[in-house]
Symmetry: C2
Subunit: 734 residues, 2 copies
């Protein structure tokens, strides 16, 4: 009720939609300050220099607006992208210098597009359900219009009414209409525009921004409330309600949150400048500020963690410069944002927001970005599982462990329930493959996700979690996976010596309940904190259980005999995911109930000691099989396999150890201290797991499997004593 009223008030506020020009990323007052302060704020001066250099380079070359032909990475695709960057640079250059050549360039290029656009049908590259006209997909067309709107806003007052009328008539209005409604032959764009999806964010931002630039309040209204204008069936505000969890988590994961945040922040900036009365940055409890903060937390060494489809991107991506600058402009009390801008980004936006960031960095106001252990809930209402991140309490240790127990994550989601990742010492140590894609490299399937993304990168076997019967979670069925989510059972970050988190998944593998508890333990007798990993599979039927751990670095040793493929190498199997793995080596351990694998990454060693039996099979494998086009990178996995088990619990000690200094050729502590791991008790109600280390030291992990009640007391008798604790979890360090 309250909300409907609110929306009604919004609607009233819409006329007039424009606050004069410029008013999107720049404001009239902002430009005056920037002009006056030239030479006084070094980082902003650098940004202006960069912008002017881009604008001057543009002026030095002829206008090229080619007939659309190529897909991503191809010539015409890249040329049309360059064109919008050029127009933005020139538009800003005009505002900052008053040199008419810049404004003329934008006007002329817009005129060239106004010539071209009415002649265009759909793009000749047919790969998308929503083909564009300038680009192979409408998404790129939205991005084009977001940028071009900024440029148009800058030169609006320079252009003659006749020039404006022409580009609005032949270019902007038809393009806005195309983004909202598609055109004859394909009306899919209308669905996309009103969908709760990041492509819709681009589309609504594009339409809203060109609406503001043109002073067309009707377009702005549809951008905010959807094409039916109700706010209930699409539009930017509903996206803010739906696309982030209450913790600011975007369901596709950090890599796509990076991309999604861009139009959100850019359009929000424009709304804030044009309709400050809407308080867009406070909407839904400041959801956009939360989203930026959460995104920054879901990174390691400034690189986004690999959840779902993910490539190597980080804080230095341009969308993060937008997000961090605009978020700081919206809330200058968050001084940690200045640290991100100063340490990782190195440039600021040539806009009001960028100016504020540069000025306050120069004033010495930056505060170090701090990472904290947290659970980020997934789902619009925060009730669809979440991602847990455990961080070292001592920032100098610089390590992070993640447990992913979310919903599927839309079309970029992976079948990776309860997957674990470990980051330490500046590197990925246990990671998943990420996405199989060579972005913008046309020779690699035109820069799109390759087929191996579906047949390998998305499969469960490509992740550090339980694989049942060699099948992906939900049998790799997207529709089925979309119906479910895992659950975070508990998270306890309150102790100095240990932190722990647990999650459960009961739908991904029919008839098998999975539960994983991960503890990060600081033991005085170990060089670095320890990770205990308890992965339980409970079933009434017999299954094959695989426990793959994708390790980064070089295999050093194992403490059991193995055979290695010498002259011929076969795949690990025919199952999805497995058929892309070369089976490098395999072994069994008949001498001990614990099997240890040590590898080196950077100048540190990692030893995974897992409870095994003589029947357990240990396998080393490497990606690259059944990959006819060299699409896969070479990555390596160590896997413990159990056959014909009803229930099984994988229990491991992951020890980080070793000093390895090649400079002075000194090394120390290169072998694991772990003498054995075993389960003292493992019932549906309780698990008590013991890990023993040199010097008679022990770490015991006690877990209540059925309840996360913090006040519930537990008592378990084992052959090695009785363990009592309160709450879902306890860790004993002796």
């Amino acid at each position: 009720m309250k909300k409907i009223l609110f929306i009604a008030l919004f609607s009233l506020a819409l006329l007039p939609a424009s606050a004069g020009h410029p008013s999107l990323m720049l404001t009239h007052g902002g430009v005056e300050t920037m002009r006056a302060d030239r030479g006084k704020v070094p980082a902003f001066d650098a940004s202006i220099t960069r912008t002017l250099a881009g604008a001057d380079a543009a002026l030095a070359a002829p206008i090229v607006v080619p007939q659309p032909r190529d897909g991503g990475g191809g010539y015409t695709h890249e040329r049309h992208k360059l064109n919008y960057y050029e127009m933005v640079d020139c538009g800003i250059a005009w505002q900052l210098t008053g040199d008419e050549r810049y404004a003329r360039r934008v006007a002329d290029m817009l005129a060239a597009y106004a010539d071209l656009y009415p002649t265009l049908g759909f793009h000749p590259v047919v790969l998308s359900k929503t083909p564009g006209r300038i680009f192979w997909q409408t998404l790129n067309e939205s991005v084009w219009l977001v940028h071009t709107s900024m440029a148009y806003d800058c030169v609006y007052d320079f252009m003659t009414p006749a020039e404006r009328e022409r580009v609005e008539r032949d270019l902007f209005r038809p393009m806005a209409d195309f983004l909202m409604n598609g055109m004859e032959g394909n009306r899919e764009n209308n669905k996309v525009f009103n969908r709760m999806h990041n492509h819709a964010t681009w589309a609504t931002s594009a339409v809203g921004m060109i609406g503001m630039a043109m002073g067309d309040s009707e377009l702005v209204r549809m951008a905010l409330y959807g094409t039916d204008g109700t706010g209930r069936n699409g539009g930017f505000l509903q996206q803010l309600d739906c696309l982030f969890s209450p913790d600011g988590y975007f369901t596709e994961g950090a890599y796509y949150q990076r991309y999604a945040i861009w139009p959100f922040m850019v359009f929000a900036q424009c709304i804030d400048h044009n309709m400050p009365e809407l308080g867009i940055f406070d909407y839904r409890g400041g959801i956009l500020k939360k989203a930026v903060s959460t995104l920054l937390q879901l990174a390691y060494e400034g690189r986004f963690m690999r959840f779902n489809d993910a490539l190597e991107k980080g804080y230095d991506a341009q969308e993060l410069v937008y997000a961090v600058n605009i978020a700081y402009h919206a809330d200058p009390s968050n001084k940690q944002l200045l640290d991100v801008a100063a340490r990782y980004q190195g440039w600021v936006l040539p806009s009001d927001a960028g100016y504020a960031v540069a000025r306050d960095i120069a004033r010495g106001e930056a505060q170090p970005l701090r990472f904290r252990s947290a659970v980020y809930r997934d789902g619009r209402n925060g009730d669809e599982g979440g991602v847990a991140v455990i961080r070292s309490t001592d920032p100098a240790l610089n390590s992070a462990v993640t447990l992913k127990a979310t919903s599927h994550g839309l079309s970029h989601g992976h079948y990776d329930k309860l997957t674990l990742a470990y980051y330490d010492n500046g590197s990925e140590v246990l990671a998943d493959y990420g996405a199989a894609r060579w972005l913008n490299i046309e020779a690699k399937y035109k820069g799109h996700y390759t087929r191996e993304n579906r047949t390998f990168a998305m499969t469960t076997a490509a992740h550090n979690t339980l694989v049942v019967d060699e099948r992906s979670h939900f049998g790799g069925d997207y529709a089925e996976s979309m119906k479910h989510h895992s659950d975070i059972l508990f998270a306890d970050f309150s102790h100095a010596e240990w932190q722990a988190v647990a999650a459960r998944e009961t739908n991904a593998c029919p008839g098998v309940a999975m539960q994983r508890t991960v503890a990060y333990v600081t033991a005085p007798f170990l060089q670095y904190p320890l990770i205990l990993d308890l992965l339980r599979a409970e079933s009434a039927d017999e299954h094959r259980y695989d426990y793959p751990m994708w390790y980064c670095g070089q295999m050093v040793s194992v403490d059991f005999p193995y055979e290695k493929a010498l002259g011929t190498m076969e795949t690990l199997g025919d199952a999805e995911g497995y058929r892309h793995l070369w089976k490098q080596a395999w072994g069994r351990n008949e001498r001990s109930g614990t099997s240890c694998f040590t590898w080196i990454r950077g100048d540190r060693f990692y030893s995974l000691s897992t409870a095994t039996t003589p029947e357990s099979e240990m396998v080393f494998a490497q990606t690259g099989a059944n990959d006819p086009d060299f699409n896969l990178r070479t990555e390596t996995v160590y896997m413990v396999r159990e056959r014909a088990k009803r229930s099984h619990t994988f229990f491991s000690s992951l020890e980080t150890h070793g000093t390895y200094d090649l400079q002075v050729e000194q090394s120390d502590n290169l072998t694991s201290s772990c003498e054995g791991v075993r389960l003292l008790c493992d019932t549906p109600d309780h698990t008590v797991a013991l890990a023993e280390y040199k010097g008679g030291h022990r770490v015991v992990l006690c877990v209540a499997n059925r309840t996360a009640d913090a006040d519930k007391r537990h008592k378990v008798k084992t052959s090695e004593g009785t363990f009592e604790w309160t709450g879902p979890c306890d860790v004993r360090i002796d």
Copy 2:
């Protein structure tokens, strides 16, 4: 004659050998200045802080001098290494602070060693022909004594005569004797001490330095002139005559030059302090200064180029800190050394030399290290071939091409005649494997070179050069390879548009003469400089010729059809080297006379276009086969193979191209511009090779194969015109 006289004069100068204490790395006057200047030279203060921290950490722990037991990387090995670092730190700390606890620590630890040493037989780890007593090999014992001599020199005046007498009697003299003569059961050390080899440099430095510290001129004499005292059968001075070429190149290559330079510079520093009249840094035309300068040139991005056995080491290795500091102290006119110290090393020696470096950096005297194209001759007399390095003339381009045409390089040499390497954009682009070794990792064959070093890393197939009949050069016969060397035919670095170098090898493959010409060409129509590679094999008999190119990065595409190993992968063959390669893919090109392979490394693309016929076989392979212990890293090679050819010339265009910016998702020029390469003429006398590029551009490489006469005029008629040039080589760019 002149030299013998010189040596005779040296001998007279030997008494007394000691200039008081301290006089090895520190001098009395130096210490006074350092004490007076505390707080005035930041980098030197940091060095003192670091030294004092090391000394304080030592004091905080008990003295541990364990019974020798472990090999490299093992506990006792590392403990004994730590002990000498501790003694050095404490000795310097005593000099700088006058705090007696530091001096007492050194005296007490020396006493503990004096207790232990007489009880020791040979080390229990039997792996070396020259086992040590504290360490598994005598080499480490020499290194121990080099360091301990410095510490003893520092605390000499603190220790009582009785204390000194005891450690000299029970520790230093027996150890010096052991280094010179071995002991009952193994006298091999005597041969090593007098050998022309870097192990001998360590041994002579150790004996000479402890001689100076003890004031024993007889030991100093044997260190300088060999155990027979003549200077003709060993000793440090003869090493200076023999172990470097006139250009300061050390025959084992940069990686071992790094290691060898350490004792050379350290002992030279001690000689300079104790016997300045010898002018050791001017000896043989300043060979030590040349050696340091050459070593710095044989690096890329501060990492040493991979010649022969090589791991990842660079300017930041501690031996380079010694070398650069001492070289600067010896010749303060070389301000580029300050740049190396400031940019790559970050710390200076706590010594007179380190003080000079820190002071002059603080004074702003550093000048940028400049790289230049050069040939570094190999062999004592500079007549055993050499290494050619072509550098981009514009330092911003930051690329380097090397052609190795040296002698074998002693026991660390590889069978890699005429091998090529390419470094660009901060990375290795075409490299060889380097050494198969996991230094100091005991689990990997105790940290030694693994067997795969011999069966793979040293083999010709592991390098970017010609393999004839799948056999390594000289059949992999060390003794045979040691008899020969390649020759640099010419090098021309005089042109703005191109640089070129050529080398010949006639002994490595019986009946086959190999010649390689490499040109680095700046063509205005290409984004980056081009490399043309002309590798000729001339023979009267039929052979199989392989042209492997070890590429770093990810395969992007080829322009010919190929098959890839999908479900089973086999080795490339049974031959040495080949049996370690998994055959990933193979193809032929029946459509064109040029076959192009493109890969990506970092944010740049590389396209190798090679002249082929429909019979040529192209292969992709990956290391890892027949590697039962996971000793090999995974590296990748592209290979062009020709069968049953008498003579054959491989001609390639290696084009560097592409802008690939993931941050802003822009890419450009990702496909090769090369439209074809072919030989217009290829006779024993002349080769004229043509490479054609988009836009009708051509680059022609004209080479005189038989003579390097700079004045000789050549005229060659081809179906595409007549080419005339003067000298061994010409490049035409149209």
